[in-house]
């Protein structure tokens, strides 16, 4: 039962093959038995899940069912869930029972979905390996010595380990696509503004975007159908009709032009990785797509630009974590400054503190123009690269990450080495473009992800391309060795 996709579960529930309570219980049991291995969940909401499942079954019996009624899923712990612990992977929020629902959470609740709980993540979504969680690292189901990627490592690992068929996630610099790539699952980061950020605890507001991780493009489309909405509570959310993302899955890709940025295939990308990606692109050529080499000349500036903008925004976004109205508060503060400094010093992990400090430094008096303004100008250059490229091509493809999953502990002592993990993903966040990662091969038994980059609001095209690939290949069906 746990191998079923969202689409299959939806059909099975409709056909009465099993009830929502049955599949929910099955997955809860599986989580209880196996998650001690992966550490994908921070909180399992068994009681609530069963209540939701029961309600879903009743609704179905009463004839009030839609595609999502009774389908289980889980949320990254960055989304606020009313009455449920919402930690963001941090000690700072280890006691934070959110008093309201994120719009994404409401959307799933309203659709009738069953939430199994809250998924592990790098603290405040800062990290590329899920080793920065206060609740411990997450294991990659394909190889327990390897990281699942981050920051949505819990989401990707839970889906790969068949603990849940689909999970919400967020992506600020690659946090959906890179873990999807490392865990051999499908992840989509929509256009900035497509999914409401209300109730999604902010890391870097102008880069953060909610999205989905699932086992197929079709499932990702079904999730996006629920997640994407116009939300008047989010000033940056776009007031634009949400298409049915499943409607164009079967469109032909014949005649489409795929752009391959030469900067994504440089010599420092291993020959094996290059081969895997080129093989995947060849599948599309077989389907009638054309390939064109393009250039995104400012690619090398994306990471430096990101590591000014994201820390600057996070340094302000995380100032509200001050031990006054919610969250961790130190013992016996002697004055207000002591309260701030110890609550924050104890509540935040090292990577979070580093980014807050980098942000504060680059924004401080006298440095603004050299860092922040320059980074924003470079951000436009990066965006302009894509705007120019999309005049000639329909979609851009390349690797999601420079390598398959790396070993736990391998990069923890060198933050910059960890940052370079996001070399191929980060530029999309700067530009606000949609991107997707689908499994397209393996190296040494570890999955490799193909990244698909679309033009603004072209999620349907990405999902269509992902689906077509998954019709022609079975990489997305492969399961980690030893998975029971």
């Amino acid at each position: 039962m746990h191998n079923k996709t969202i689409a299959q579960i939806s059909r099975d529930l409709a056909a009465g093959e099993y009830s929502s309570v049955e599949i929910t219980q099955h997955l809860l049991d599986r989580i209880a038995q196996q998650d001690s291995t992966y550490n994908a969940f921070i909180t399992v909401t068994a009681e609530q899940a069963l209540a939701q499942a029961k309600a879903a079954d009743e609704n179905r019996a009463a004839g009030n069912a839609s595609v999502w009624t009774g389908v289980p899923m889980a949320h990254k712990d960055v989304f606020c869930t009313n009455g449920v612990l919402t930690t963001c992977g941090s000690k700072m929020l280890s006691n934070f029972v959110a008093p309201y629902d994120a719009t994404v959470v409401s959307n799933f609740n309203n659709a009738g979905a069953v939430s199994l709980g809250k998924l592990n993540m790098d603290e405040f979504a800062m990290g590329s390996s899920n080793e920065n969680s206060f609740f411990g690292p997450v294991k990659n189901p394909w190889n327990h010595d390897c990281v699942p990627g981050g920051s949505s490592g819990g989401s990707a690992a839970a889906v790969a380990a068949r603990l849940v068929p689909g999970a919400t996630a967020t992506d600020t610099g690659g946090s959906i696509r890179q873990p999807a790539s490392f865990c051999g699952v499908t992840g989509i980061k929509p256009t900035y503004g497509r999914v409401s950020r209300w109730g999604m605890i902010a890391y870097a507001s102008s880069l953060d975007q909610g999205g989905a991780i699932a086992r197929s493009s079709e499932d990702a489309a079904m999730m996006l159908n629920v997640m994407a909405s116009f939300d008047p509570k989010d000033s940056t959310c776009v007031d634009q009709a949400v298409p049915d993302y499943t409607a164009n899955l079967n469109d032909s890709v014949e005649g489409l032009t795929i752009g391959l940025p030469k900067e994504y295939f440089r010599d420092d990308l291993s020959a094996e990785m290059q081969q895997q990606i080129r093989d995947a692109v060849a599948e599309y050529e077989k389907m009638g797509a054309k390939v064109k080499e393009i250039s995104l000349p400012n690619t090398h500036l994306a990471i430096p630009s990101y590591y000014v903008i994201a820390p600057a925004e996070c340094s302000a976004n995380l100032s509200r974590m001050d031990g006054v109205r919610f969250g961790h508060r130190c013992e016996d503060p002697k004055d207000i400054n002591d309260l701030y400094k110890r609550s924050r010093g104890e509540g935040f992990g090292e990577e979070v503190k580093r980014r807050i400090m980098v942000g504060a430094y680059t924004l401080s008096a006298g440095f603004y123009d050299a860092y922040y303004k320059q980074a924003q100008q470079v951000r436009r250059l990066v965006k302009n690269d894509f705007v120019a490229a999309f005049k000639d091509v329909d979609v851009i493809m390349g690797p999601t990450a420079p390598s398959p999953a790396f070993k736990a502990g391998e990069k923890t002592s060198d933050p910059v080495a960890m940052y370079l993990e996001d070399i191929f993903t980060i530029a999309l966040n700067l530009a606000g473009l949609p991107g997707m990662s689908i499994p397209c091969g393996q190296i040494n038994g570890l999955p490799v992800g193909l990244q698909l980059i679309g033009n603004y609001f072209n999620e349907s095209r990405l999902l269509n391309l992902g689906h077509q690939f998954q019709q022609a290949t079975d990489w997305h069906l492969k399961t980690p060795a030893g998975l029971v």
């Binding site: 000014v308 701030y340 400090m357 924003q376 100008q377 965006k383």
Partner: protein, 95 residues
């Protein structure tokens, strides 16, 4: 670009982050290497390029001036570390 330890302490103070003296050297090293990374920006020619604050270059939507929120003090203060008579408590603030 290397930060010295006093700079690290000053930034930590600005951010209200307690950092043990034993960790200052680590922060010094890591922050310096991050700044080296971002200093690559200096090489970019950005003459005449409009800074980009938002990916979509969109404009602000306006909200009608309506009171839509009820009193939820009790609900919100359930998660507060310390409250009294409806106030959030902090160590005495001297002006």
């Amino acid at each position: 670009m290397a930060l010295d330890q006093d700079q690290v302490r000053n930034i930590a103070e600005l951010c209200r982050l307690q950092i043990d003296d034993s960790q200052i050297a680590d922060y010094q090293k890591n922050l310096s290497s991050i700044l080296d990374l971002v200093n690559q920006l200096a090489a970019a020619n950005t003459d005449g390029v409009e800074p980009m604050a938002h990916p979509l270059d969109a404009v602000q939507r306006l909200r009608a001036d309506l009171v839509t929120e009820d009193n939820q003090r009790e609900h919100f203060q359930q998660i507060a570390p310390a409250t009294d008579q409806g106030y959030y408590l902090v160590p005495r603030v001297v002006e």
